[in-house]
């Protein structure tokens, strides 16, 4: 294994496949009928432990996948590649902020 890149690649794929299932589930959970989006039912889900774990997982996968994708787009440019270290640092920071902020919100319910 050579550094971070192969790991990111594999995890990008794994998170991608996982998300197909997780997001489909999330979509059905929220859109199968109108009431599912009411404040009460959302709050019910947010306070339930199983749902909490489910959403925490989804949050981590989505955030990683999205920011890693963004990283690829930026590194595909001349400027991005010149400041590769900075790009990586900014992306990791942004992703971590998003994940921790999301987890913090989840934990408040």
């Amino acid at each position: 294994m050579r550094g971070f890149e192969p790991l990111a690649w594999v995890f990008q794929a794994i998170s991608g496949i996982a998300m197909v299932f997780l997001i489909t589930t999330h979509f059905l959970l929220t859109h199968s009928s109108h009431d599912l989006l009411s404040y009460d039912s959302v709050l019910y889900r947010m306070t339930n432990m199983e749902y909490k774990i489910f959403y925490a997982l989804l949050l981590i996968f989505v955030t990683f996948h999205a920011f890693n994708g963004l990283r690829a787009i930026i590194l595909d440019t001349e400027g991005g590649m010149r400041k590769k270290g900075a790009v990586n640092a900014v992306i990791v920071t942004a992703a971590l902020i998003a994940i921790f902020y999301g987890l913090y919100l989840l934990s408040k319910f």
């Binding site: 294994m1 050579r2 192969p6 690649w9 594999v10 690829a72 590194l75 595909d76 001349e78 590649m81």
Partner: protein, 225 residues
């Protein structure tokens, strides 16, 4: 048939049309030679073997890179649009700068790394099955078509590009080679295999059908070990 050619001269670029009489079996390269010999002797393009093995004459034909020598004119209707390859700097007319392309190829150490004796060479055995593992990837003629359509290479000039990575894989998959580690170190840098996002355009345009995208993915898999 009308040839519409994108020309570059003295840092100016313009489109120019030529009328070329077409006979059965005539190729695009024959057409270009017709123009050079009878209409405009200054039309610059590269050509050598005219049988699809030297890789000189790749140009963009109606938006898609092709070897001029292998392109039958009968495939086209009235008009044919010819441009130099994308992702290469144009020197003149259809002639593009290839130094960078070859420099990328050189970067991946595209030669057999093995303990051999120059003065007293001995025959190394290799079964037809071992040969078959990499043979298709030896067929790269370095025409530059793949690089010219690679979206990563379009935005990032320093990425190695399909052809160089194919070369790296070709040697890594050779049973006689002992230089896997060195080569993997180079291609697993971020301008190497990680700049491929499987747009598959290289495999689509490769005139030798060697599937560069596949080679890159196989190479990428090796970096996991």
């Amino acid at each position: 048939m009308k040839f519409v050619i994108r020309r570059f001269k003295d840092d100016k670029s313009f489109w120019q049309s030529f009328e070329v009489p077409v006979k059965k079996g005539m190729t695009l390269l024959d057409g270009l030679f017709y123009i050079r010999e009878n209409i405009d002797p200054s039309l610059a393009f590269r050509a050598s073997c005219r049988m699809g093995i030297c890789g000189s004459c790749a140009v963009k034909v109606n938006g898609r890179p092709r070897l001029a020598c292998e392109t039958q004119l009968s495939k086209f209707k009235k008009e044919i649009k010819i441009e130099p390859l994308d992702n290469f700097r144009v020197i003149r007319d259809l002639v593009t700068e290839f130094e960078g392309f070859f420099a990328k190829h050189k970067k991946v150490k595209p030669y057999l790394i093995a303990n051999t004796d120059y003065e007293n060479p001995i025959e190394q055995l290799q079964t037809p099955e071992e040969l078959k593992k990499y043979y298709i990837f030896t067929l790269c003629i370095k025409c530059g078509s793949c690089l010219s359509v690679c979206p990563s290479s379009a935005t990032l000039e320093s990425s190695l590009g399909p052809a160089a990575l194919v070369s790296a894989y070709r040697f890594n998959a050779d049973s006689r080679d002992r230089g896997k580690e060195e080569r993997l170190k180079i291609v697993s840098e971020s301008f190497g295999v990680w700049r491929c996002h499987s747009a598959m355009e290289c495999s689509e345009v490769c005139p030798k059908q060697i599937e560069p995208a596949k080679a890159i993915q196989l190479l990428r898999r090796e970096t996991l070990r």
